[in-house]
């Protein structure tokens, strides 16, 4: 059985992880700059990526985080990873 997450659910998951792992207090929208909102340096970015992979049970492409600047980019990357994992297991 495959569960499909919509963008709002992925966004909510990202916010959950950011609050839990990066002590983020606020709201995230697609247009939000990740670096500014989450004060991402290389270590916090790696923490975010690893914890998002744990949360969504998805393997994001190695190095994909370098092309991500907004929350929307991250939502797209996670959706793409979930779709890829789903097609690989079908």
């Amino acid at each position: 059985m495959t569960f499909r997450l919509d963008d709002a659910q992925i966004l909510a998951g990202i916010a959950d992880v950011a609050r839990r792992e990066l002590s983020f207090a606020g709201e995230l929208e697609r247009e939000t700059s990740l670096v500014d909102a989450l004060k991402l340096d290389s270590l916090r970015l790696l923490t975010l990526v690893v914890e998002l992979e744990n949360h969504f049970r998805v393997a994001l492409e190695e190095g994909s985080e370098t092309g991500i600047s907004t929350v929307g980019d991250l939502v797209d990357a996670i959706r793409s990873g979930l779709e890829s994992d789903s097609s690989n297991t079908q």
Partner: protein, 349 residues
């Protein structure tokens, strides 16, 4: 004052990085989904292998801080004694001639401290002054040389031994699967190094200590350090270290060398703490060094990992036992550590 000789000692249990990754995989899998990413993280630190204080299968038994620290006390004496004896042999100085010993570590606690226990094991003279220093972290190898030189200014006929023992693997909290701890578990190794320093009224070979400089960076306490939990040391590591290097190191090195009438171009040997690949790259960029200038540090990092305060002494040992700089040339010891701070020592061969 001169650094007469150095000696190092590594625990006999060596594992290449792939073997260590395999050993850690099971623990990672209890919490993390994408194990391939964590494996890659451990390969990216540019460490080929590490020596561990214990055989790898014995770490399972270290279920409390007390057990880990007991192992630390036992192994610290073994590798500490070996390093001191090797350094004294190279210096041609007897155990009974040691007037003072500075012991530095940040990976275990002991009272009586390790150098006191070595007095019993090695028959060091009962008059020997003991100076155990805990907490300087990675900067303690360079700081220890500087403090030994400070002491020798007032005691020009004395022999000082600086001993650094760091058994980083015994601080590893296997249930801490946070990213900083994952990085630490791929980078840090175990070992000991000792330096024999003599005052200006004793004849000795080896580089002269010309000057030293301490620089403290205010309000940077969370750049690096330990938090203490009921399970022991829990690493504090921020991504700021390469930034701090870029922001401060060139200015501080230039100011220090300028006060001695020198510039970076006068330095023939760069003796840098190999904190990690990104730190070494930042140092190379900040100090505008050519690709080979930090080669001894890169090599040490690859061969044994980051040994905290021990590492910079091993780098100096490799230079002093290899192709030593020509007479009259300068070397600069550079290290940064918790505080956050840096220590610089100018040597002249």
């Amino acid at each position: 004052m001169k650094v007469s000789a150095l000696g190092s000692a590594l625990p006999p249990h060596h594992y290449d990085q792939e073997r260590l990754i395999q050993a850690l995989r099971a623990a990672w899998a209890t919490r993390h989904y994408n194990i391939d990413r964590l494996e890659q993280l451990h390969r990216n630190v540019l460490v080929g292998g590490r020596h561990l204080a214990l055989p790898i299968e014995e770490y399972e038994e270290l279920t409390t801080w007390g057990k880990a620290n007991d192992a630390w006390i036992r192994v610290a004496q073994d590798v500490g004694e070996s390093a001191v004896r090797r350094a004294l042999d190279r210096a041609g100085i007897g155990v009974d001639e040691v007037d003072a010993m500075i012991f530095v570590t940040v990976t275990g606690v002991a009272t009586p401290s390790i150098e006191a226990r070595l007095m019993n094991r090695m028959g060091l003279p009962s008059r020997m002054k003991r100076m155990p220093i805990f907490g300087l972290g990675c900067v303690a190898g360079t700081a220890g040389i500087a403090r030994a030189a400070d002491y020798l200014r007032g005691h020009p006929r004395d022999v000082v031994v600086l001993l650094s023992v760091e058994l980083c693997s015994l601080t590893l909290q296997r249930n801490d699967l946070s990213v900083p701890n994952l990085i630490a578990s791929g980078l840090f190794g175990d070992g000991a190094a000792a330096a024999v320093l003599v005052g200006s009224e004793r004849s000795a070979t080896g580089p002269r200590i010309v000057a030293s400089r301490s620089v403290f960076y205010p309000d940077s306490e969370r750049v690096m350090g330990w938090d203490i939990s009921e399970r022991g040391f829990k690493i504090v590591l921020s991504a700021d270290v390469p930034e701090v290097v870029k922001r401060h190191l060139r200015r501080d090195v230039d100011a220090f060398l300028g006060d001695e009438g020198l510039t970076r171009r006068d330095i023939a040997a760069w003796i840098s703490h190999p904190g990690g690949s990104r730190v070494l790259e930042a140092m190379q960029e900040a100090l505008e060094l050519d690709a080979t200038a930090l080669e001894p540090s890169w090599r040490t990092l690859w061969e044994v990992g980051n040994l905290s305060s021990t590492s910079v002494l091993m780098v100096l040992e490799s230079i002093m036992t290899g192709q030593t700089p020509s007479p009259g040339s300068y070397g600069l010891m550079v290290a940064m550590g918790p505080g956050f701070c840096s220590e610089l020592v100018l040597l002249r061969w």
